[in-house]
């Protein structure tokens, strides 16, 4: 099911852990959803000097976290904010379609860590967006009761359903 790159990152995830005194922390998901990712960043001269993560989730979630951390390290904050869903999936050599939501979470969590850092820089407290149940259940497209899965409705809306 998973590509070799995914399995490699799943088996040997890079940059697992927390950063003591991180410059920014971002978290997304909740256990009911099956995926939680927490990202910790160290910033120097507007560059991500270090990125670490902890993830509760499926194989894809772990691989995505690992890949996001690798992609982010060494990037400027602006560059890191441009890491997208799609670029993570591409770097992983693809993910099964039903797992695409997990990769969304990876980029989101990193971005939140960066927002957190920026808010602190501005002296604000970064307001973490509320994760409604929609973040939780991204169904397979073609699942037979799509009405229960509002979050992916748009993504899955193909002419035949």
């Amino acid at each position: 099911m998973y590509s070799e790159v995914v399995m490699d990152h799943f088996k040997n995830p890079r940059n697992v852990g927390e950063i003591d005194g991180a410059d920014g922390v971002g978290e997304v998901g909740n256990p009911a959803c099956g995926d939680i990712m927490a990202f910790y960043i160290k910033v120097k001269d507007n560059v991500l000097e270090d990125v670490k993560f902890k993830t509760f989730g499926c194989g894809a979630a772990i691989a995505v976290s690992s890949m996001v951390s690798e992609m982010a390290i060494g990037k400027t904050l602006d560059e890191a904010m441009k890491i997208t869903n799609k670029s993570v999936i591409d770097a992983l050599n693809g993910l099964p379609k039903k797992k695409h939501h997990c990769s969304n979470l990876g980029a989101d969590a990193l971005h939140r860590a960066i927002e957190d850092y920026r808010a602190k820089q501005r002296g604000n407290h970064y307001e973490k967006p509320a994760d409604g149940p929609e973040v939780c259940s991204c169904p397979v497209c073609d699942v037979n009761d799509p009405e229960e899965a509002p979050y992916c409705k748009a993504a899955c809306e193909r002419p035949q359903k």
């Binding site: 697992v16 499926c58 991204c138 699942v143 899965a149």
Partner: protein, 391 residues
């Protein structure tokens, strides 16, 4: 690598004896039972024999067995066929909240067509209370459908009692016995069953073949109309290979049932006891004693099921999980939620379903390999350090 299949709920190997019985129908015996000539006859005989063996396995008569493409079709047919045949009498259906998707979604389809449904709750062991069935009955009730056992949690329901209540009220009682038929003794008479769904694979027959038992006298509309195969009740050229395999598997299941139970229960009990001993904060799921013989269902806190499953897979151990990531609908098991297990805990579901091919060494391997996997993943989990009893 040594493969340890502890995912018999998904796939039990076809027994060699069963495969041998099927192979002639892959080769020289290619007739169609609908044919008038001799090529059809030898196949008809084989199908009749299969039908007798299935009937014998559940103490029914051959005419009460109709072959289907599996448990899902049998479940869909039972529900839709009975509700349609009973439309003039009512539109209410009683079921449980822990049914298989093939019941759950068929019922949703019926609801869209205007049927009323009562979904009975279960207790923390996943058991339906027969008293709740009695209370749910209305004059409009035309069907009661409660599964015999759910493979995800192992609990075996008190269906003899539920069937008795149904019969007292003159309401047909259907049970989804896919997880039990050929696995534990199932007797449609002593269990008061009017309709029963079964599938071949749980007792080591092929995938994609099953049957619906329909007690003589029960009125049901067809789901699949057409030719008059299966006495006009289920049209379509039969999956002869599958049916022959299912028949042979049924014969063997009846013969070996006691031996299989004696083999499986100790393995199950050892895993159920030893996993929580070896790993902290692991909780058993389902009924402690009224339980499928090969079913070991637990939740592991702070870790998600798929990641454990994948690491076990790399070690050759094949299992399942009720976590959201694993379910193809990306929802956590409705069965565990109905039992009051919170969604977060249910994410850590591990489901071992044992079969004839499992040994004591297999259990040793699981007990040796699982704890470090859990530890590795807990170390990676943002939930573990924060809330675990010990860090």
């Amino acid at each position: 690598m040594k493969i340890i299949n502890m995912d018999h709920v998904a796939a039990s190997p076809i027994l060699p004896e069963v495969a041998d019985a099927m192979i002639p129908f892959l080769k020289e015996k290619y007739g169609n039972p609908s044919s008038m000539h001799s090529l059809g006859e030898e196949v008809t005989e084989a199908m009749d024999e299969a039908r007798e063996k299935i009937a014998a396995l559940i103490n029914a008569t051959p005419e009460e067995i109709v072959f289907t493409s599996g448990g899902t079709e049998a479940n869909n047919w039972a529900l839709k066929g009975i509700m349609q045949a009973g439309r003039s009498r009512g539109n209410h259906l009683i079921t449980s909240s822990i049914e298989h998707f093939s019941i759950m979604h068929a019922i949703k389809a019926l609801e869209k067509m205007g049927m009323e449904v009562t979904r009975l709750p279960v207790d923390k062991y996943g058991m339906v209370d027969p008293d709740d069935v009695r209370k749910a009955i209305t004059p409009q009730t035309v069907l009661i459908s409660v599964m015999h056992a759910n493979n995800e949690i192992g609990s075996i329901q008190p269906i003899a009692e539920i069937g008795r209540i149904a019969r007292e009220n003159n309401i047909p009682f259907h049970t989804d016995a896919v997880a039990t038929t050929g696995v534990i003794p199932v007797d449609v008479n002593s269990l008061n069953i009017d309709l029963l769904s079964l599938a071949a694979n749980p007792f080591y027959g092929p995938h994609g073949v099953g049957a619906l038992y329909i007690r003589r006298g029960v009125r049901i509309s067809p789901l699949i109309d057409g030719g008059i195969q299966e006495g006009g009740r289920r049209a379509g050229t039969e999956n002869i290979l599958g049916i022959v395999g299912m028949g042979k598997a049924a014969e063997i299941a009846a013969r070996d049932m006691d031996a299989r139970l004696a083999h499986l229960q100790p393995l199950r009990d050892r895993l159920l006891k030893s996993i929580p001993e070896a790993i902290e904060e692991v909780y058993p799921v389902g009924h402690p004693t009224e339980r499928l013989p090969g079913n070991v269902s637990v939740t592991v806190r702070y870790v998600e099921g798929e990641s454990m499953l994948l690491f076990l897979d790399m070690e050759g151990i094949k299992i399942a999980s009720g976590s959201a990531c694993i379910s193809r609908s990306l929802k956590v098991s409705h069965v565990m939620l109905a039992m009051g297990i919170d969604a977060g805990t249910a994410q850590g579901s591990l489901l071992f379903t044992l079969g004839v091919d499992n040994t004591d060494e297999d259990v040793d391997d699981v007990l040796r390999l699982l704890p470090p996997i859990v530890q590795k993943l807990r170390d990676m989990s943002p939930l573990y350090k924060r809330t675990a009893k010990k860090a």
